[in-house]
Symmetry: C2
Subunit: 217 residues, 2 copies
Amino acid sequence: MSDTSEKERPEKGQPRRRQARGERRIAQLLAAAAQVFCTTGYTAASTNAIAREAGVSPGTLYQFFPNKEAIAIELGERLVHEMREAYGEALAPVAPATPLEEAVGAAVDRFMAFNTEHPVFFALMHGPDMPGGITEAHDQLHATLVGRIEGLLASLMPGASPADVTRTAHVCLGIYKAGLELVLAHEGAERAAYVQEVKDVLVRYLGPLVGDRLGRT
Amino acid sequence: MSDTSEKERPEKGQPRRRQARGERRIAQLLAAAAQVFCTTGYTAASTNAIAREAGVSPGTLYQFFPNKEAIAIELGERLVHEMREAYGEALAPVAPATPLEEAVGAAVDRFMAFNTEHPVFFALMHGPDMPGGITEAHDQLHATLVGRIEGLLASLMPGASPADVTRTAHVCLGIYKAGLELVLAHEGAERAAYVQEVKDVLVRYLGPLVGDRLGRT
DNA sequence: GACAAACGCGAGTGGTCGCTCGCATTCTGG
DNA sequence: CCAGAATGCGAGCGACCACTCGCGTTTGTC
């Protein structure tokens, strides 16, 4: 019943005990993969290129990842884990008296900060060339985000049908993703201006829907 | 000096006289390529798969196209040609007294009709996995569209700086592309509802910018 | 009908890529 | 210090893919 004491995974056939060196190599390889995925996309990225970027041999790469897809999966999982922390704070606490502009502005700022800090995320989610496993994970995350937005909108749009709320949530996310693409394509002041545009689009889109509740006076 | 009489292209080394059969095969191959590109994307699409879809041999395909990229290029050029006709009418004539809602609604309807009729277009423009030549053509078209929208906005936003107009045009196009993705992902009534949402987003976004000029009373 | 050119085929070629294998090196527990 | 495991290597294997080549068939022209 009780294991020895160290980290063990009785569920998997091979627990694959790692040394500290191994964990370092994994982080190194994931960073290299992020770099390569960002510049060339997933399909065009070769495992040999990732290994070269990390400064190791192809064989070493396959010591830690069973195949190319697993690299992207693991990278995605770590990003989602990081994101859940940032987004839990970004979307969950919708104070009842918060003006719409503030709520949208804060959420957009948090999302934009995360995405500009981890451009791989956009590359992985946006590519239409992902194999099954990644698309699956992406859809799951997408559904989670839409659910969160639905939760916020439901309290703002009391008279709307569930289908309307869902549709509105999808539109909001679509607007954000389109804005993100524009934001990532610019730098400095221009980038900040585009961030403001995204906020404006969302506020003006949602303003009439939420009625007088949280809209502008 | 004088050529025989038939159609000849002195500019190119090989005029490559075509028979009617050849033109038919080209159309057939482009249709097959559109189908395959739509389902698998450009990079994942194999030339052998395109030839199989068209019911011909790989050798026959290469009788009419020098390489895989040329297929996408030619397909893109024909689509752009078709689009220019539809879009010339969709964007050019901005009647001075047209309400904003009508102008946006008409433009969105035309664009959506074209894109739902030719889903390949979205697949080719949206993929981040295209080789140089296609990206180049895409950027050119993108710039053309932005220029058109800028022209429309310039007359609606007299007080705005050129940079503001350009940014607004990019945002409009981004909104449209995001909406297109949502529209293509749904069918029937849901699709129509999303089309309406796109119009609403654009009208509410542009409304405050154009002032009292063409906005709602 | 005869000649040439366009068309059509499909096995084959060179190259790339994901991934493996055998072996050397480094770490860890006893 | 010494088995044994984890780590590291890089040449190489099999598969796939864009593309070619030689040869047979159809079509247009005189």
